[in-house]
Symmetry: C2
Subunit: 201 residues, 2 copies
């Protein structure tokens, strides 16, 4: 495919491997601080590397961001897997969302990437699908335990979390407390006490 993303294809030279990692780390930091429109030059500088080197490892900015997003999805998936241990499915579910949100909160880049840079998002699609698969079992379990509203689809989670993250950055961020947002959202997701559902007019 593209590059040395696959460790089996060909062994990178020692310094190259080191640089690649440095770049990824630097990118994570820079994007986290400045959001998706941070400059590639800054990433290079922070990594102590020339721009050209960045482009040797990643064909363009979108792929670089895509790689970061991919890693993030993977770590979320890991977290979800851990959450599966918990007996109380609702507890597990809400903790997962909380952790995810908290993580995003200090990582503006991801929000931006997920919401605006569609190329990066697409690049990370495989990882996202995998993550959603894990989360799906969590969701199903919470529904079976009667804690999560039955009509909720795991696929809808991206929409909700995307919205949550969106309000973290931008002009709205000022008057925004994401914990509060999440709280309201979770209340909306909780299964209702059986009777009296909303009757849309």
């Amino acid at each position: 495919m593209t590059t040395q993303a696959d460790p089996g294809i060909r062994q990178l030279r020692a310094d190259a491997r080191r640089n690649r990692e440095r770049i990824l780390e630097a990118a994570a930091e820079v994007f986290a601080e400045q959001g998706a429109d941070a400059q590639v030059d800054d990433v290079a500088r922070r990594a102590g590397v020339g721009v050209g080197t960045v482009y040797r490892h990643f064909p363009n900015k979108d792929v670089l961001m895509g790689e970061l997003v991919t890693r993030k999805f993977r770590s979320f998936a890991d977290y979800a897997r851990e959450a599966l241990e918990e007996k109380d499915a609702w507890e597990a579910f809400s903790k997962l969302l909380h952790a995810t949100a908290a993580n995003m909160a200090e990582n503006i880049a991801l929000q931006d990437a997920l919401r605006t840079t569609s190329a990066a998002f697409e690049y990370a699609e495989p990882a996202r699908a995998e993550m959603n698969a894990v989360i799906d079992t969590l969701v199903k379990r919470a529904q079976r335990q009667g804690a999560l509203r039955k009509d909720f689809k795991t696929d809808e989670l991206g929409m909700l979390m995307g919205g949550l993250c969106a309000s973290m950055s931008g002009p709205l961020a000022a008057q925004c407390d994401w914990r509060r947002h999440l709280e309201i959202m979770l209340d909306g997701l909780r299964a209702k006490p059986a009777a009296r559902t909303r009757r849309a007019s």
Copy 2:
């Protein structure tokens, strides 16, 4: 200040007044279609006017967008005022959110402006404050009627709606149905049946 934004200051020449309006209309269309990063040149073209003319009326792109956002806030405020007529405050409240969201849904520019272009957002701040004031009475009333959760602050609405709108555009838009998002959100806002949430099984 800048220009003829204030109609009282000085009478615009007939053609200028006409053009100003045309530009605003064109801008609304173009931004609605292409989002906040539509080009000023496109706006000018659509308005059948030179770029220079656009800049004669609006010092820069941000102010142009700010003006659009301002108008939008005003129209939302109007809608909220109408909603005050309704006896059932919850009905009024949810209808307001629904109408607002629907409006945003076909107006990508606003979402973008509200979420990313902080300059435009600031420009429209007065209108926003006015709008919130109207909505606040609606909120208070819904709370007095016991339909809306007591701990909800009107100021939090921006955050929630911002999030809702965010998921309408961007890569997430695909798998996103904002009506669904709103439904969940409203469920989260509804006052709970008195006691603490209950553990169904």
